[in-house]
């Protein structure tokens, strides 16, 4: 079956992204397809490369990156939600004249159309919110 996940909560403050990560691993383990993970609202903070966890705690953006690389996943951060919350790639940082960019390289900034397109391409769309 083809799945798309929507993550609407930020890591650390809320458990939802961690639940989503475990869910993603479980569905891939079972041989299902993960069409896209779309990070919306405060979920955009999952894409921050600046998240710094103590060594004995998990770092969710890095875990997403590792999972994406292992399974060649499409992990998309909503551009409209992200720029308002200070999650920028190099292109947007230049556009808004900010001094740095912080989107993890495994993630892509794109529009809500990616959520709609993914929903059309998937059998199940599961929201993880907080």
């Amino acid at each position: 079956m083809i799945f798309t996940l929507i993550v609407q909560a930020s890591p650390y403050q809320h458990q939802a992204p961690e639940t989503a990560l475990r869910f993603a691993k479980a569905l891939l383990r079972q041989g299902h397809t993960l069409h896209r993970i779309f990070f919306y609202r405060d979920g955009v903070h999952n894409g921050s490369a600046l998240v710094s966890s103590p060594r004995d705690e998990q770092n969710l953006p890095e875990q997403w990156q590792a999972l994406a690389e292992e399974h060649d996943l499409d992990i998309v951060v909503c551009i409209a939600a992200a720029i308002r919350r200070g999650v920028l790639d190099a292109t947007e940082a230049k556009r808004y004249e900010r001094r740095g960019d912080n989107l993890h390289s495994a993630f892509e900034l794109s529009g809500l159309g990616q959520l709609v397109e993914a929903s059309l391409a998937s059998d199940r769309v599961i929201t993880f919110g907080g």
Partner: protein
């Protein structure tokens, strides 16, 4: 930041070519932006720009193509509300291009 010069006055544009200060918009500014896009404004352009600016006033955002067609259709008649007509006036991506010339922010919900 790019600028556009209109009658000796510089107006700031954002990196996508949209006017930064909406209040600075005049018909001359519109023509200057249109010239950059190789468009010569005619009365047919102006009436669409007018609809667009009214849309922004009422709904507080620049419309995507579908609501733009609907708004033009309601204001100027169904023939002008067709996307093919708007494509002729503002070739390429009419919602974005017309918003730029109308001095409005970039539409958020465009494809």
């Amino acid at each position: 930041m790019p600028y556009i010069e209109v009658q000796g006055v510089l107006h700031e544009l954002d990196s996508d070519g949209y006017l930064v200060d909406a209040a600075a918009w005049t018909l001359d500014v519109a023509q200057a932006i249109a010239t950059q896009e190789s468009i010569t404004l005619t009365p047919e352009h102006y009436e669409v720009l007018d609809v667009l600016r009214q849309f922004y006033q009422v709904y507080e955002h620049s419309p995507a193509m579908r609501p733009l067609c609907k708004a033009v259709s309601l204001a100027l008649g169904p023939d002008k509300g067709k996307s093919i007509y708007l494509m002729q006036l503002f070739p390429g991506s009419p919602a974005k291009r017309a918003a730029r010339i109308a001095g409005l922010p970039r539409p958020d919900n465009c494809l």
